[in-house]
């Protein structure tokens, strides 16, 4: 189930039930999983199987209806909203399908943003933002706004932003969903690089070519894992 390193995230018997007009819908059913430090995990499955919901629960942006979630050994369910926000800011990096870069900020400022929120001094965060943009191959586009970047470039900036506060875990929700094949491959290469550099990565994807790059692929159907295989 997990790698040789201690787990960063441990989910035990997670249920996520959404109240709907036609009756409650269980998006996650008794899900148990771990992600170890530096591990690369892909979560695959058909639309509506609960992949994104699981990612949201793992990323502390959604709360499980029941079950236990631990991040670095801390019980996340016991934390206040402010403490969860701080945890996300410092320990988790998010990459979204739609990038969600702020259009009024340059690429550099977008990468600086989480660091500024974490209280990193301006000179330090500027330097790190430049390093991160170089890391994702966009050092020369630092002063461009998102509207001046291609989809692939925007996703690179989003990955740099996710790495801004040196998180131990990157969560990516269909990161290549809005990119063409070649650009998607390039972005997948970046996740390989993050993993190689020691960051744990969990990617939710439809794309088998992305999933097959992971160490582990967890397949879901109807809110459950159906089988687990090591890549």
């Amino acid at each position: 189930m997990s790698g040789s390193h201690p787990p960063i995230v441990e989910a035990r018997d997670i249920w996520r039930i959404f109240p709907m007009p036609a009756g409650p819908v269980a998006a996650l059913r008794e899900v148990t999983m771990e992600v170890s430090e530096g591990e690369y995990v892909a979560i695959a499955g058909p639309s509506g199987c609960g992949k994104s919901t699981l990612l949201h629960v793992l990323g502390c942006v959604d709360t499980a209806t029941s079950g236990e979630l631990r991040l670095e050994g801390r019980d996340v369910g016991a934390l206040s909203d402010a403490a969860r926000s701080r945890l996300r800011l410092e320990k988790i990096g998010f990459v979204f399908q739609r990038f969600f870069l702020l259009p009024m900020l340059t690429a550099l400022e977008n990468v600086e943003l989480p660091q500024a929120e974490a209280g990193v001094p301006p000179a330090v965060r500027l330097n790190r933002a430049r390093l991160l943009l170089d890391y994702v191959g966009l050092g020369h586009r630092a002063d461009h706004r998102p509207s001046q970047l291609s989809g692939g470039e925007m996703q690179r900036v989003a990955i740099a932003r996710a790495m801004a506060n040196r998180p131990r875990l990157i969560l990516a929700d269909e990161p290549t969903g809005e990119l063409d094949q070649a650009t998607g491959e390039a972005i997948a290469g970046l996740f390989d690089l993050l993993h190689k550099d020691g960051t744990a990565v969990v990617v939710v994807t439809h794309d088998p070519s992305i999933a097959e790059r992971a160490q582990r692929v967890l397949r879901m159907r109807d809110g459950r894992f159906v089988d687990r295989e090591l890549a």
């Binding site: 909203d81 996300r88 800011l89 998010f94 979204f96 399908q97 500024a116 929700d173």
Partner: protein, 399 residues
């Protein structure tokens, strides 16, 4: 990036909408600023006008509006007795009347006539010729305002024929010929008013009132005593008279006479406040609803609810603050225009203003704008802080 800088960038991003909000606040703010100037403007102006007379205490025989007040009998003797009080520097009996002066035109002109007992303290300032004197030979001297002098094409040394207007009708008494001693400015003159001041003898002859009657006695307190001590001393000496300091006169005006202006300005200020709050609330709510995905992503990244609320609050503060600053010169210009309209009404003294600036207006204005910024941000802040992160991200993905 701090919340203020972030909010500034957000406003620039939607420049057209932000400009619309700023213009709306500038317009509403200008009106609100003017209502604040109006709410106390007339009181402040009347206070300045009363102080300009050089007297700080008024003595009457009865209360009520000037037309229904009883006269003070033996006013000259009463004024002399009051002047002898250690708290009083000077007491001047006044009688207020009207007269007609024969003009070159067919209809005679009406003139406001202020008669005073012989004294050196005046409420007018002579700008040409000389003042009234106490000499017997000068009993029929008058000083006139500039408009009357120009109207009659007269100046110091010129004679005028006056006929009294007693009880609002021309007197049957024969006209009295008076001599212009000087031209003076009167603090209570309206733009078109013809004004004249004389000794009691002139009004006595014009209207045949009992000699020695006055409508009021105006008193100047000694600087070392002050008006309150003078009022106490006069009340003790003459409990049968009604004595008021300028402060008390203003207080009575504020309670009764000028409350209409305050009520009108309060009602209009509330309307403008509400308009400002609704305008900014709508703009911020639309803005928040258009970037729900972005806000959810920022929350996912680790921005706290508090921080997201602060962004919205700063946006509101910037819109209201910039619009509010722009409103001040706009409001000042508007108040000058409105003031000119109101001052052109007949009978309004030229030195009286309806819109008067006081430093406290700025503080009050800043406080009300702060209320607008806070009030306008409440609903969009609530939207932002209650936003479900996962649900919003899911909806963004599905859409």
């Amino acid at each position: 990036m701090r919340a203020l800088a972030f909010a500034w960038r957000s406003l620039l991003r939607r420049g057209g909408r932000s400009a619309l909000g700023i213009v709306g606040i500038a317009a509403a703010g200008a009106l609100m600023f003017d209502m604040l100037l109006l709410s106390r403007g007339l009181l402040v102006s009347v206070r300045e006008l009363l102080d300009a007379f050089g007297f700080d205490v008024r003595v009457l025989a009865s209360e009520g509006i000037p037309q229904s007040r009883l006269p003070i009998e033996h006013a000259l003797e009463t004024a002399r007795a009051l002047s002898a009080l250690p708290e009083v520097a000077s007491a001047v009996p006044f009688r207020i009347g009207e007269a007609e002066v024969a003009a070159e035109s067919e209809r005679p002109d009406e003139v406001a006539l202020f008669a005073v007992g012989a004294t050196t303290r005046r409420i007018w300032t002579v700008v040409d010729g000389r003042d009234l004197s106490g000499r017997e030979d000068d009993a029929l001297d008058v000083v006139v305002n500039r408009r009357l002098a120009e109207r009659m094409n007269a100046g110091p040394g010129t004679s005028l024929e006056l006929r009294g207007r007693c009880s609002a009708t021309p007197s049957i008494l024969p006209p009295v010929t008076v001599r212009i001693a000087g031209v003076a400015t009167f603090p209570f003159d309206s733009g078109a008013q013809l004004t004249m001041a004389s000794r009691f003898e002139v009004l006595d002859r014009l209207c045949e009132r009992p000699v020695g009657e006055a409508d009021l006695i105006m008193v100047a307190s000694r600087p070392e005593s002050g008006p309150d001590a003078a009022v106490d001393a006069i009340r003790k000496a003459r409990p049968d008279l009604y004595t008021f300091s300028n402060d008390e006169v203003i207080e009575r005006f504020e309670r009764v006479g000028f409350s209409y202006f305050r009520q009108i300005s309060t009602a209009l200020a509330i309307v403008t406040l509400s308009f400002g709050i609704v305008l900014i609330t709508v703009l911020l709510t639309v803005s928040v609803n258009q970037r729900l995905g972005e806000i959810a992503a920022l929350r996912a990244i680790g921005f706290s609810r508090h921080r997201m609320a602060a962004d919205v609050l700063w946006e509101s503060a910037l819109l209201v603050g910039i619009g509010g600053l722009a409103a001040i010169p706009l409001g000042m210009a508007l108040s000058i225009w409105l003031d000119a309209i109101l001052r052109s009404l007949p009978g309004v003294p030229a030195t009286l203003h309806f819109f008067v600036f006081e430093p406290r207006v700025l503080w009050l204005y800043a406080g009300l704008l702060t209320g607008v910024a806070l009030g306008a941000a409440i609903y969009p802040m609530w939207l932002v802080t209650r936003l479900p992160i996962a649900g919003t991200l899911r909806r963004e993905f599905v859409s």
